[in-house]
Amino acid sequence: MSDAVLHVRNLVTVFHTDAGPVRAVDGVSFSVGKGETLGIVGESGSGKSVTAQSLMRLLDPPARIEGGQVLFEGRDVLTMSPRELTAWRGANAAMVFQDSLTGLNPVLRILRQVTEHVVAHGRMDARDARRHGIELLRRMGVASPERAAASYPHQFSGGMRQRVMIAMGMANDPTLLLADEPTTALDVTIQAQILDLLAGLNEKFGTAIVLISHDLGVIGTICKRIVVMYAGEVVEEGPTADVLSDPRHPYAWALANAVPRLDAPIADRLPGIEGAPPDPLAMPQGCRFAPRCPWRIERCGTERPPLAAVAPGRLARCWVTADGRSLPPRTVPAHAKPPESSTTEPLLVARDLVKHFPLPKKSFFGAREVVHAVNGVSLHVMPGERLGIVGESGCGKSTLARLVTRLHTPDAGHIRFDGQDIATLGGEELRQLRPRLQMVFQDPYASLNPRMRIGDILAEPLLVHGRARTAAEAGERVGALLDMVGLNPSWAIRFPHEFSGGQRQRISIARALGLEPALIVADEPVSALDVNVQAQVLNLMLDLRERMGLAYMFIAHDLAVVRAFCDRVAVMYLGRIVEEAPARDLFAQPAHPYTVSLLSAVPEPGRQRVVLGGEPPSTLRLPQGCAFRARCPVAQPVCAEPPPPTEIAPGHRVLCHAPGSFKGMP
């Protein structure tokens, strides 16, 4: 490893909390060669981000680096003087952060932010830096870079801001670029653009890249080698393809298998591993994964395994695979019976729903601008069915969810639920309807009142709707509900902050279940969760459906999750459903060019992708004709006309002039 750019040895970072020291990074070692791409993967709390920030010495107290070496081209970053450190940071090693909204300073112009460190490091004077900055923005694919340079961050979309962040990182042509979850906040098609950009930087300029992500798909598309972290330790390291196909640490196995994949056979259950990461204040004595490990042997509970070679070029921290054996492959249970024949009446029917939001007027005489959120959506949900709604941010899927649950009132159109027209219900009638039609929200942190005990949160709807007459009766029901979603009934006296994200989402589901609904509309219920927790919550939702005959309207941006969970899928673009089909058909034979591109953009190792250019057009001015025309790879003159709805197979409807004409990359 003489040509290593970065050599990390036994890095230890400790957070000195009031409750005691937490070893967030506990003896991490790895190295990155010149021009290499390394991925670091792990769930939240695994220490991957703390590792990255330790490398740059960016952590504030109470975090402290308490041991190890970070050798950058032979020099130890950890022993640099403050002056040496500022000279090194941003010049030789740069970092791209996850959230480009908070990562860019809102009050400074883009150009200044992209080039100030070029000037500060004495590379160029202000005039040259300006030219360099604009050139950088152009190279990163920022549209009209000169105007962009003079703009402020809030004038850009998330994808463009992330390009600016990368331009900022590349400004001094660093040897090493650390990217911490650079695409997590972005839509799939934009994510694909950014990943291509990063891969290109590595190819063209030989920049070594360390990519940190919780998403194995993202890592797999760029990185040749991968480091898997769990509870502050490296548990496995090796070539990406090998780790994905033949993981040697049970946690890596769980990660690789818990992620729903587009090319995997559809199973009824996602093979997540139960349990949660260990309490960082009380780490298990032996292997840290042992309490959750299905293959645990006696030694695992008492002796901490070393990170040892298990195959040429592969390291794993596991007693079970220490002798070089593989873990058993994932067993795929046969797919459950297809959804029951739909002879019954649909539970929910929506016809031609429209919802527009007028914006505040910009000037007294100017025309009022309108956000065209939902523009004529028709759909139905059968009893017990799981309907998936997918699309990128701004496509109107969340508004649609709020329309069918009547949190919003539609501007036009009809909604029939359980034989009753509910589109214009109000007051008491609407209140009567609520119990049958419940919603689960995306953010399990924001949707539970932090000042209420879990028991009270769950009891409230029961008391309000008369499902329990006394507090004691409600308390009993709450216990049963907690038990049903896999939580300990005695936890009812706890407050929301005492729970993890996955547990909170279980609580949100319990709250919706308490009123025995017929339909649960879930708006991105698992997108804020780690993959393993995501699998657990999805499995819970499947169980509950079987036990209670629930129907779901499941809204998500993650196609693989929708594929794993739903019977039928509708794809939305600019407030319309552009394609709708049984899940199997949609993923096997997508017919709308947008669906094809969307599926193709999902990062999965070893797959050729279509990278769609541009971004979804503004919802302020709807395009004439086909809404997707401007980005469509196979657009024809005829697309200026509104496309006719076509049924190309039973239940497979497409809104396109030439369905099936675009097959993706050869």
Binding site: P82, T86, R89, T102, G103, N105, V107, E116, A120, H121
Partner: protein
């Protein structure tokens, strides 16, 4: 940006009109009869005298006519004649206002110049000695009552140490500087009369410090809190990762964002200093608006009260306008 300024200006004008109406109506509907207050019990018992008096001051006209007279007078710079001093209200105000404005402005600058750097230093070196000092200053400034502080300061610096002169704007035997704006510091400096300048400045020091205390405390605390928040933002971490020096990170990246709440507070504080100096003015025998207000209110001198209230609301409007424009300068997201 231009449209933003135009909108702010237009709304300030509308607000000023509304304020004049509200002021007019309130002063008409407060219980208390100015006739009675001015004529005294004996004269007021004679209906003829009362009627004549009411006609003289226009109190017999319908409400809207009186408002119209009031408003058109206002546009000509006529605030009416004070019932108590028998002088045009505008003249009265012009006489008393400079003393208050001078005092308030110096206090305000003092609070800003000390408070912002102290707050920044306290946030940057959190839990250090600087931070402890800053927290003590803000606690003391906010919680110590003005009259108490004024007496303590007078007792120590005037009575005991003799460092500061006694109450008043100038030495009792000195003449006010020429120039005529009423701002003694300004006038004497323009005239090159440094002796008077020094005299005015030393007289100003104690009341300015006393008046500044509360504002200083608030500004220090707000700056510290805003800086602490900004220093933990991602963009500060990004700036450090770029290899910028700590000074650039703090001053260029964090401070400008932290100034937004400080500007809000500063605007309110300045308006407060202008109108809330009664206590300080009384103790330091400062011939300012505060004392004029107090006297006019006690005499139910409606033209004077209306005049003062108008000046005060105009000041608030002006300060608000400045605050709004500063937002636009500081934060590009506001410019729309």
């Amino acid at each position: 940006m231009l449209r933003y300024v135009a909108i702010r200006l237009a709304s300030a004008v509308v607000m000023a009109l509304l304020a004049s109406l509200v002021i007019f109506l309130i002063s008409n509907f407060v219980p208390g009869d100015p006739v009675l207050a001015q004529l005294g019990d004996i004269l007021a018992s004679d209906p003829a005298v009362v009627a004549q008096w009411r006609a003289k001051w226009g109190l017999d006209l319908p409400l809207w006519d009186r408002y119209w007279i009031f408003l058109s007078g206002l546009l000509h710079g006529d605030l009416g004649i004070s019932i108590a001093t028998r002088r045009p209200v505008l003249e009265d105000i012009a006489q008393y206002a400079p003393a208050t404005i001078e005092l308030a402005t110096v206090s305000f600058l003092l609070a800003l110049v000390v408070g912002i750097p102290l707050g920044v230093a306290a946030a940057v070196w959190r839990d250090s000695i600087v931070d402890a000092v800053a927290r003590a200053v803000s606690l003391l400034g906010v919680s110590a009552p003005t009259f108490w502080l004024a007496f303590i300061f007078l007792a120590i610096f005037y009575g005991w140490l003799g460092w500061a002169p006694g109450p008043g704007r100038l030495d009792p035997i000195a003449f006010p500087p020429e120039g005529g704006t009423g701002f003694f510091l300004w006038d004497s400096a323009v005239q090159g009369d440094w002796e008077t300048f020094h005299d005015a400045l030393t007289h100003l020091a104690l009341p300015a410090i006393v008046l500044a205390a509360a504002t200083l405390g608030l500004i220090t605390r707000t700056t510290r809190a805003a800086m602490l928040e900004c220093l933990h933002q991602d963009y500060v971490r990004v700036a450090r990762a770029k290899g910028l020096k700590e000074r650039a990170v703090v001053l260029h990246h964090a401070l400008r964002n932290a100034l937004v709440p400080v500007v809000t507070l500063g605007g309110l504080a300045y308006a407060n200093l202008l109108t809330g100096a009664v206590m300080t003015e009384t103790i330091f025998a400062w011939p300012g608006l505060g004392r004029y207000t107090f006297r006019s209110a006690a005499a139910l001198d409606f033209p004077a009260i209306m005049g003062i209230t108008l000046v005060v609301s105009a000041t608030y409007l002006l300060v608000n306008l400045v605050v709004d424009l500063s937002y636009a300068l500081l934060d590009p997201r506001v410019r729309r």
